[in-house]
Symmetry: D2
Subunit: 434 residues, 4 copies
């Protein structure tokens, strides 16, 4: 976890305080359930709630763990210091450490998912607003970095919206998948604990009981969760790369907002660098790098080995904190992004008129010219534009074969931009609904 | 694609013949739609169907591509050789190569998904059958590779069933996500083609029109698809590792079926090696290795660059063919797997009675012994079993403090195995339904 | 292996014919050594060489393997068909399959390394030639995609040269690391075979005996090998990205060579797309994706498990074939790349004079202006150039404070380009030697 | 960075204090060099050393960065607070932020490499000691988890030694590769700074000047560095997996040292779990997951983009800290590991005598039996041992065909263990030298 790439709300989910709080709730609710089943005395269950408002002392727990070398036992020992060791003696009865650890981890991941879902919703709102704003802002579409045909800036925002909307659905699925708990004992047989304890604890924590667990909750759930984060991070990179391209000196169709106090470079004061989106590109690499380790965690030995734990101690916080930060940063970038519509227009004329070549090609074929001949006609004129930056329309008007096929008016008609934007409303309706 | 790790049905999806067949259908259906809209003459659309039963000549298309260096143009040229170049002149009109390539790729991925779904269903059937068969077959559950408490072999199969059932759901989601097509032109604006052409083609091919495409279908869909394959591969490894552990000489609780003609090793004829599941472990690594490249494909430049293409030419076939093979191989392993119930029983007695120690611990606390004292009582007797392989029950019966706390009958009661299996039915109901 | 991304020489290393040829040589040389040690009769060793010029029948070996399910036994059976089963009966004596398989794999990887080394040498030659050619070709250097200060195209080629030269050294190290063989028996103890057999076979095949092997050669060697390929692939991407940027419409400082028959796009005939370097970008992702599976292969169980095998059957050929193809393709791109020096010059004037701002800043500080003031002076003039594309030099000449600090001549002096290229010779000497 | 998986010395390399200290030294040495060249006044260079013993105030620098949004400027501003802003005004002259940042990063990585090299040396010492100690400790070698032939525990330690020794060499190469610095200005042309400044600073910091840099040091160096860490991590996993297998209940040939205060599990007090090596398995996944992000960092745009920075801020510390911790932990495990020689012996007799079957096979062929017949003879007897756990030797002695071929004494001779260990000295000499 890198402080500069972190936001407090997500960080707090992963604090020791939060973790111990969740552990406490699991144990306390489990005691309630056991008391209701008559397995432990009601007063002992009630006694546990004495610690309800306690902020657990992380340093003290660490101190105990240094001796016991076992985190859950250290916590339980500390809990007994608050509740009284006599009263606390039924706490955790019939449970195994992983019942607490795994259920708590999934509570944390579920809460993290809630923040990420809210992040995505915020990003979607920003993307939608900018899409509407620039629905009709003409710019050139590019394939291979090369000018192709006109499109609009609104369509660019709209496709990022659609992509992030898919990510929102994926994130919701991932949240649903990870929202399970297990209180099933040492090998998952409920030998020493009634399944109704699990049901009660899960219900209180907003989880579904894991249908079948071993000592642990199966890690394919976590793998799917982190894989989803990896996909979302890759989409963030997708948007970031677009912004970085737009901001490069020769293109300059857009730019990250540049606050006045900010210095772009110690040496070149005029430089407005797309540092936020470059940063997002790097953050995407980080989150992606956590996907395979999460997948390697799936194949645990028999009813569990603990190899997954160190991986999750790192990627649990790191992936969610980094992605939360990245989504928030991207939302800010989109929200305040500068759009240079004049440059969009002048860029389209880098090779004047050439972006209309496909349309001319089509018009020629439709006018009865063979595909090969039409291709040749367009190509010979296009190459002149390419080499001498002359105007494509004028070249065509001076090309007898083209004029013979299309007529002068027919040629002129191919350069009407509205032709390219006529379906923008249709596409927006498909993306945003009517 | 490695022939020895391939099955013909999946391989055939990725053959050039299949690809050209799909291309053909896209073009032909697009002509129909354009004819219906009055954009091209009906007879030209009809003419295209003359090639309906043609097997396209891959070598001839390759030959043309060697000149044009463009695969779709090569195909269209060859198609014109069948349909007649005059009749074929409206084919592909207003479309861009990616309209064909991307829609075709998604048809292939969708068909691959259908096979993988069927594979998973087959695997689930095998797992369910074996789970039912061994529902009550007692074996020791292990955490950290160390004996913990009794469980049953049926529970092992049942948890793999539950995991693969989640994978089936993930695969269905992935199929749904990838089943889109796009016929939207050079930058996705439908400038030269009516959106109704896309709608018609997609409907005929069983796809949903991509709500907003550029020149290409957005690659987050493909990233999510391959990530799902990576999760499934990791689950395959999970099952494979269990089998490998069961088969190791000292454990020998199960084994891959061993056909008579098979030689285990050129040097050690008696060896029955778990080579199939070791192979599956390796195949899982391969499929996982394709996830990050698929994610790196998401951030294409502007309306597209073609960097994704080489990645997909390799991982499209390789990931689906490998996973199909792996699922089929695993199904065979599960189906015919040998289960050595006697060894399960003798393994449980490696340290006689020690697997009951947690239960004894619990009984002691319930009898009013403090957690720390109970722990100590169990530990001192357990260590003797550990060191001298004496019987745990007998140790306890000879330990005055334990007898004082539980009574002799109370001690005996802790060694009843039924205690550990009493919730197996409950768990089975949760996994398989009632 | 994708035929279109493959070259025959590298492909042939991985053919079954090549593999069986290497197996044959291992067995035959091993027989010689055993005969020399008096372990087997000399005539039997000599008899094996009867098959010296045989092209082994792959189909026949596959047929035998279908029965025996063991590839080495299948090969030995077939070999006996050539040599005579009586004469062949000492072949492979005391050896284990992996002695053959692993030694053969390393022969293949060593040969693949030789090709890759030659590829890198070819690429270095092309880079050096282009570097010399464009040593003094001025273009703007960019950080963050934003104009920074002048540099030369020769420096760009030179840094790719230096990077690829490091890769050459890495590749040589990787080759050295992988050039080991092992003939050490079932668990590496030489129980049934004299270490001198290993020494003889390795010497004949150009390998070093693995100092300590188990049944297999340790896989950290292979992991380091494939990791090296991943680094090289990433460097290829680095060069490819530069070319792609240079070719984008607004930049157009360079382009992949465009042959006349080639069609850039079915729809936009004028488009000269950087498809080769986009392809290289994708190929880099593929090779990188094979690094982690190779690393996961390191941790085999005890003296070996066979999980590495399926991984290597795929990535052995795929990584080397793909990288060989990519290096050759990149060499072609560099060799024939078009450089548009005029566009380099006009791009530098996108914001006239602004690339000199750092130098002006420095001149101001050196003239006694405080860092903060100098920054402010440069910034206010730079922003005007940024906004109105006016000439930076003229702005400065009209700024009284700047004139007061530097004098008019002092300002003019900052716009001398030679200032930026004065150390190019020094750098070239560091890269290419004197 | 996870505190529980960190060691202070490595952590301190990555502290802000260390970083600012290195930045300071770079700037101060650069001033010296510039003064020596007459570029800045000597007294200003000397003045910078006034801060020689200052502990920079991280909080204050962060405060300034919050305004300037630029870390190097913030540092320089703070430095001026110590040195005096008049005196400090030539600090950083002609340099660009990356000159400082990149050179400092490589200083950190070089120092981290030194620790890792020392770690590996410590691990090698432990492995060597245990190898010598157990040179002749017989245990069964296993392939596929199945008993193969006898080997010794010393050979196991020796092969880990050889593997880690290769890793030591790789780490030294990686250190050498990363030990470069660059003070070459905004685009690497030395326009505003003399190359002799770079030479001086590098010499003082123990670095080699980067032959050709842009704004940054090329990232293929870092990719190779982190790839090396990934290989080492995979070797750690290799050793860890061996220990985990040895410790599993049914095998129990070794165990991690178990301190008395440690509680193995909250529920099963007798359990001695291999938690350290399971932990190492997870840590290996983490380090491996950082390799591909480091490789993705290679392809920066033009003379640099800053996408690499966030990646390195995380993986720089995380990979080195994690690997340092893992190496130290593994050294402790090896150093104190319990070896259960009696269990090694009893495990070898799981299927009495069967581990000698390859040798019998060989003896039969050498006695003139055809390969196929010998195979059949061994197989039929081996299967009985497999099924009924009878003694292999006795089976053979009762098999007329075998007795006919080998004689009774000949059969007995095959069961001499010394046969398998006769080359241990040879192998040790190859690994450890004479």
């Amino acid at each position: 976890m890198i402080p500069r790439y972190s936001r407090p709300e997500m960080v707090s989910i992963w604090s020791p305080e939060s973790k111990f709080r969740i552990w406490y709730e699991i144990e306390a609710h489990a005691c309630d359930a056991m008391a209701a089943l008559g397995v432990i005395p009601k007063e002992n269950a009630e006694a546990v709630w004495k610690a309800k408002d306690v902020e657990f002392d992380v340093a003290r727990i660490d101190e105990i763990e240094a001796v016991t070398k076992h985190d859950v036992i250290a916590f339980l020992t500390h809990l007994a210091e608050h509740v009284g060791s006599e009263e606390a003696r039924f706490v955790h009865q019939g449970m195994t450490s992983s019942d607490v650890l795994d259920t708590a981890l999934n509570v944390q991941l579920t809460r993290a998912a809630d923040i990420l879902i809210a992040d995505l919703e915020g990003l979607l709102a920003a993307l939608k607003r900018r899409a509407m704003e620039h629905k009709d802002t003409i710019r050139v579409g590019r394939s291979h970095g090369i000018h192709a045909e006109p499109t609009t800036m609104g369509l660019t925002f709209a496709r990022f919206y659609a992509e992030m909307d898919r990510n929102l659905r994926r994130m919701r699925t991932a949240r649903e998948e990870i929202a399970t708990g297990a209180i099933s004992g040492a090998v998952g047989t409920f030998a020493n604990i009634d399944p109704r304890v699990e049901a009660h604890v899960c219900e209180k924590l907003g989880l579904i009981p894991e249908p079948i667990s071993t000592q642990v909750i199966p890690r394919d759930r976590h793998a799917a969760f982190f894989a989803t984060l990896g996909v979302i991070a890759s989409s963030i990179e997708n948007v970031a790369i677009e912004v970085r391209h737009m901001q490069r000196t020769e293109v300059l169709e857009g730019a990250e907002f540049f606050s006045l106090g900010q210095k772009g470079s110690s040496a070149m004061p005029h430089k407005k660098n797309p540092v936020l989106t470059e940063n997002l590109t790097g953050l995407a690499r980080l989150v992606r790098g956590m996907v395979v380790p999460a997948m390697e965690n799936v194949a645990l030995w028999h009813e569990r080995d603990i190899s997954h734990s160190s991986v999750e101690r790192m990627i649990g916080p790191d992936a969610t904190i980094t992605l939360d930060f990245a989504l928030a940063r991207l939302t800010g970038v989109i929200d305040k992004m500068l759009i240079f519509t004049e440059n969009m227009r002048s860029n389209m004329d880098t090779f004047p008129g050439l972006v209309m070549s496909q349309r001319v090609l089509l018009a020629l074929t439709q006018a009865g010219v063979s595909r090969e001949d039409a291709y040749a006609m367009v190509q010979r004129n296009a190459l002149k534009v390419w080499e001498d930056r002359v105007d494509f329309r004028e070249q065509l008007l001076a090309d007898e074969a083209v004029v013979a096929a299309l007529g002068k008016e027919g040629i002129e008609a191919q350069f009407d931009e509205a032709y390219h934007t006529k379906h923008v409303d249709t596409i927006f309706a498909r993306v945003f609904g009517d």
